[in-house]
């Protein structure tokens, strides 16, 4: 298992190499001039100025030279400098990483709390009130865009009830509303997934064996049903964790959090190539890492899965 983990960790390099190649190719193929947003004759820059800046930013080099330079710098931990402002891309990203990771973890926990508990209750009381409530919750949750949910939550809990500040940092407490807004859709999906998985396991012979032993029903539910229902749940949470690292632009915007999602969208609209490359590389690395954790978790959940 240690060897497997190390091998998977080493795989991160070829993966990132592939990702960097794809980003480079896409950015090269994109029409228009990346500098147009920064310097332009319309802003009063002369043609010589523009040419000088192009030269400074190595935009006149052949593509493969640009790519190899980028790779060489990246390997030494330098993701380049932003076209705008000239700040270090790595520092920009690192500055936003803690907030992003905090929010992703909080969102993941909120999703698990809501989704798993609702799904388990629904399965245990199949056809009963908890089941119907969960299905309504899942349906409504999936139907509300997270940006709208964020605004609603802000309106209800911060503006009306004043439980939270609308703006300003309150430590961990300021994670509650954005995490809840992020969790709404995935928790709805997870609740249905958990319910279906639990119901499937409940039909298994070993659940009947467990009941025949005369052990408490809570043990049957947790040790025998829930543990076997975990695989699809973990798969989904893994996919979710990856997307939470990058895909929470709206929630970050509504709650004024400087996260990686917002960083990426800003840099894309400004055509700030070094920022785009750096941001996407980070997100890709995050995906690889989360996938590894999920694969290792499979082995913990199900002893039939082995790594050699």
């Amino acid at each position: 298992m240690l060897v497997y983990t190390l091998r998977r960790l080493l795989l991160i390099f070829p993966t990132l190499l592939g990702v960097s190649l794809v980003i480079f190719a896409i950015l090269a193929l994109a029409p228009g001039d990346p500098l147009a947003a920064v310097v332009s004759e319309e802003y009063g820059n002369t043609a010589e100025d523009i040419e000088r800046i192009r030269e400074q930013l190595h935009l006149n080099d052949p593509l493969h030279v640009q790519y190899l330079n980028f790779l060489w710098d990246a390997m030494r931990g330098d993701l380049g400098t932003s076209f705008r402002g000239g700040s270090s891309v790595l520092n920009d990203i690192l500055a936003r990483l803690p907030s992003t990771i905090q929010l992703a973890i909080a969102g993941l926990i909120a999703t698990m709390l809501l989704g798993i508990s609702a799904g388990v209750l629904a399965a245990l009381y199949r056809g009963g009130l908890p089941d119907k409530l969960t299905m309504v919750f899942a349906f409504v949750g999936v139907s509300i865009p997270s940006v709208y949910a964020a605004l609603l939550l802000l309106l209800i809990f911060a503006v009306e009830l004043r439980w939270f500040k609308v703006v300003g940092d309150e430590g961990l407490k300021s994670l509650v509303l954005p995490a809840a807004a992020m969790a709404l859709i995935p928790a709805g999906v997870l609740a249905r997934l958990t319910r279906a998985s639990m119901l499937e396991v409940m039909e298994e012979d070993y659940v009947r064996t467990a009941r025949a032993k005369g052990i408490r029903e809570s043990l049957v539910t947790f040790m025998h049903i829930f543990r076997n229902a975990l695989i699809p749940i973990v798969t989904y949470l893994g996919l979710l964790a990856g997307s939470l690292l990058s895909g929470q632009v709206f929630v970050e915007n509504v709650f004024g959090r400087p996260g990686l999602g917002r960083f990426l969208v800003d840099s894309i609209s400004a055509r700030d190539y070094p920022q785009i490359r750096g941001g996407i590389l980070f997100v890709a690395a995050g995906y690889v890492f989360v996938n590894l954790i999920v694969d290792l978790l499979y082995g913990v959940i199900d002893p039939r899965i082995t790594y050699e």
Partner: protein, 333 residues
């Protein structure tokens, strides 16, 4: 003498979208201390549902025990609360299931699964439970039990898994052991070993056993008494010898004739199958459920379902023409 277990007029139905499935239609039988009883029937005859009903293991919904009494140690099991019944399950009445491949939880160690049954029922410390787990595994013939208890079910063969199921069921020294086709899913060579093991251990610990099987040949050497079930009814009940020699129900006769014999040659003695298909349990029974497949059937069989009646001492049959069946049996022999 009071019986160890007495089932009276047990009725279990499953409510499905297509209607009520009449799985068990008023069966009554007794089990005495140390006795060994066989319940024989084809798939869907209600033999498994019957015992699951008395253990409170029928999934509800869709199943429901509609009627009946099950006396065990002066209690009607069907009237006990869930907690009281749970206390008896595993401790007093234990069960071995059909398919050892699917009856053990794949994600828990076998040691845990054996130990688990002792925790609520026996007042033992964690060390004592571990010790007894290893003892039980050795008792059923698992080598290196002390280290193997930490293995998972998929690391054992089918026969070994069934041995682990047996170890589990013996853990609390139950007074009744129910073996629900414990060898159906196993290799023929393993089947005999498992049957011997259960027989030996149940005799050693003085447990009464109920063997559920579709194979009359399996129970012949194992049990004192056999109950034959068809379509949720008990159609014949007798000692093994009487059942073979004085067969009094056409279904039993059909089962016996479809058994291969060591002495038969293929050329002369072909097996005789029971014609027709198993009954549709969605229909509420009005006539004899076996009538459509019965070579002895007369008009009366299509009008009235015959009750189980005494035909000799300790021999019951539910057939209007049991005397003709018996005569036919004796002629064949």
């Amino acid at each position: 003498m009071a019986h160890l277990l007495e089932v009276r007029d047990l009725v279990t139905r499953f409510y499905t979208e297509d209607g009520a499935v009449h799985a068990v239609n008023g069966i009554s039988y007794t089990l005495d201390e140390g006795e060994s009883l066989g319940i024989v029937g084809e798939s869907g005859s209600g033999k498994t549902v019957g015992v699951l009903s008395l253990m409170g293991l029928i999934p509800d919904p869709p199943g429901r025990v509609e009627r009946g009494e099950v006396f065990f140690a002066d209690n009607d099991l069907l009237k006990l609360s869930a907690d009281q019944l749970r206390d008896i399950r595993g401790r007093e009445i234990a069960m071995i299931f059909q398919d050892p491949m699917t009856s053990l939880n794949p994600v828990l160690t076998v040691g845990y699964q054996i130990a688990e049954i002792m925790r609520p029922h026996l007042n033992l410390s964690q060390e004592e439970i571990t010790e007894r787990t290893v003892e039980l595994m050795e008792l059923v013939g698992i080598p290196n039990a002390a280290s193997r208890r930490k293995d998972f079910p998929h690391q054992f063969s089918g026969g070994q898994r069934q041995r682990i199921m047996i170890a589990m069921s013996l853990a609390c020294n139950p007074s009744v052991l129910i073996a629900d086709e414990p060898t159906t899913a196993l290799d023929v060579t393993i089947q005999a070993q498992i049957i011997d093991l259960v027989k030996r251990l149940s005799e050693q610990f003085g447990m009464a056993t109920i063997w559920i099987t579709h194979d009359l040949g399996v129970v012949a050497g194992l049990v004192n008494r056999v109950i034959v079930m068809y379509a949720g009814f008990i159609v014949e009940s007798a000692s093994v010898l009487d059942l073979y020699k004085k067969t009094s129900h056409p279904y039993t006769l059909g089962l016996l004739q479809s058994l291969p014999s060591l002495h038969a040659t293929i050329a002369t003695d072909r097996l005789i199958p029971i014609e027709g298909a198993p009954p549709d349990l969605l229909q509420a029974p009005v006539h004899c459920p076996f009538a459509p497949r019965c070579q002895f059937a007369v008009d009366q069989c299509w009008q009235e379902n015959p009750p189980l009646q005494r035909v000799a001492s300790n021999h019951d049959s539910a057939c209007w023409r049991w005397q003709d069946v018996r005569a036919a049996t004796e002629q064949l022999a």
